[in-house]
Symmetry: C2
């Protein structure tokens, strides 16, 4: 997640008004008769099932051998919601509030003073320097194990400012079904997100059935240390890798090492991942864009949004044979519960 | 692989005299009755089987849940041979020879002139700058796909200067059995090597049954490019990550995200990985060091070797409860064929 994205997320905060979601009983795997029960019948659902069915039909012209059945998914806006701002930034804000009693100096020190007073205008006036300070204060300076515990605790207790749901209840049921469906057909599913790798790993196994080693994301550097006799890794306030835009194909190469045949995203930050996945030739390939069109059940945004801006992807979807999922019309349900 | 390691590999070249290996018929998986048929009965074999058996005994005190059954293996000297110099450096030397006709200027330009004349003394006189030039000339400036093809072609044709074997025939049968045995018990097996990630991925699936996304290694940066309309990744002459010594726990965290319960290495470059794996508490944990003691079937080296130096690991093995495998006495066979 770039600083620019953080900045944009703050600018966009509060611009949209989501409704509370209907409660839908959870089902852990798709029904045997319909692999995608939360998808309405339509072009998107049909295209997915056609692609997957042909890819596992041995001897057919569109067969894909199992080792090459690699599917990559963006996270924010593709597997879970991202409004009114990236949930990882809400985590950072909550952390600052929680840490404040141990930092009396923040009462007079910017950007912390403004953040604690809810004065986002002043925070933003501090520019990237202020945002970097917030990120590094909350994401570095502790062991990897301590950070993991912090994320788990937050996920178990924090709630979304508008829906009141826990954040891991705001994952998209149709996409969870799609992950299950792909894995049932021997696809290996990966997250390839601009979000922090250490922020995602503690909860994605439970949420998506994706193990920690199949998560690609942005990261800071870590330092190995044994000075107290116990080996630890310390999270350093230094960027290691930004897994966004052209960083996504690079991240896929460095972490996965195989070009995917299936990729799903929702914003122009996913454009290069979809290019890399679908314009490769060889096997048939599938590109999917989740289009946020549902202002009632979720949010409606695309070209004008500061978060999850989708413009170039919409312009080029037809040319590139990418499948645009219309959230309002293609999904029977939105959230997992 | 650090430049220091490359330097050391050159210094050590030709210091040891291996014998030709006996041919042993290949078996793809261990016999049902004995999971490690190429291991002699002894402390090492018994310890491995005890550990694995207890780790999968549900309800037992040493049970390890499947998601935490993470096993990491060094490559050079642990899964395949590394003498008289790292095979990846032999690849680089072969590449320089192959590229020479397109580079007439190398006839007079160091370090290429000396390398092509087999004059390693002069190459080494050029110091790290010369070695870096050799590495970057052979590992950067092409697409990731072109590099992958080069590695595959080399692996299919090149032979070891002393044994005459293909390099992927110099993988250790007992270790391949161990990988199978662990996977048969729902362990996820990873390579964590100082070697280049792009050099390993094209052949490790076939050699070890380890897929490309379960390889952690050193890497250079890559750049996404679509200038000719086709998306490619260009390998840049710039280091991205060195996966050696304290870099191994860092690499395990960044790429895998779970602390292993089983780690195997052979040199002091693996010391921190074994520390990180075994000194964590919680579950029982297993550290293994392959000790090269077999001057007849392979090589004998440890404290004095410039390649695969093993000194600190031997000194601290007992204290840390690491299991030292005596290649000469513990292994019935060495190479896969």
């Amino acid at each position: 997640m770039t600083l620019g994205i953080f900045l944009a997320s703050l600018l966009a905060a509060g611009c949209m008004q989501p409704q509370n979601q209907q409660e839908i009983p959870e089902s852990k795997s798709p029904a045997a008769t319909d692999p995608l029960p939360s998808w309405n019948d339509g072009e998107a659902k049909k295209s997915i099932i056609d692609f997957v069915t042909k890819s596992v039909t041995e001897g057919g012209p569109a067969f894909i051998p199992i080792p090459d059945r690699i599917a990559t998914f963006d996270n924010d806006g593709t597997l879970w919601a991202e409004q009114p701002m990236y949930f990882q930034f809400l985590f950072a804000v909550d952390r600052i509030r929680e840490m404040a009693p141990q930092h009396p100096e923040w009462k007079t020190k910017q950007p912390f003073k403004a953040l604690l007073e809810g004065d986002m205008k002043t925070v933003l006036a501090g520019g990237e320097k202020a945002l970097l300070e917030i990120v590094m204060t909350t994401h570095a300076g502790m062991t990897t194990e301590a950070f993991e515990k912090t994320v788990k605790d937050w996920m178990a207790t924090a709630t979304h400012p508008k829906t009141g749901k826990h954040y891991n209840e705001m994952i998209y049921r149709p996409m969870v079904e799609l992950l299950h469906y792909l894995r049932d057909n021997q696809y290996k599913t990966f997250i390839v997100s601009g979000g922090g790798i250490d922020f995602m790993r503690p909860w994605v196994q439970q949420a998506y059935g994706i193990p920690p080693d199949q998560v690609v994301g942005s990261s800071g550097k870590v330092k190995y240390d044994t000075t107290d006799g116990k080996p630890v890794l310390i999270k350093l306030p230094e960027l290691n890798f930004i897994d966004d835009k052209a960083g996504k194909p690079a991240g896929i190469h460095q972490y996965i090492g195989i070009r995917p045949v299936f990729a799903a995203g929702n914003s122009d930050g996913d454009y290069e991942m979809l290019q890399w996945t679908t314009l490769a030739g060889g096997y048939p390939r599938f590109g999917l864009l989740v289009h946020h069109t549902d202002s009632v059940r979720e949010y409606a945004y695309d070209r004008q949004s500061h978060i999850g801006k989708l413009e170039k992807g919409l312009d080029d979807a037809q040319k590139n044979h990418w499948h645009v999922v219309d959230m309002k019309n293609d999904w029977k349900a939105v959230f997992i519960k």
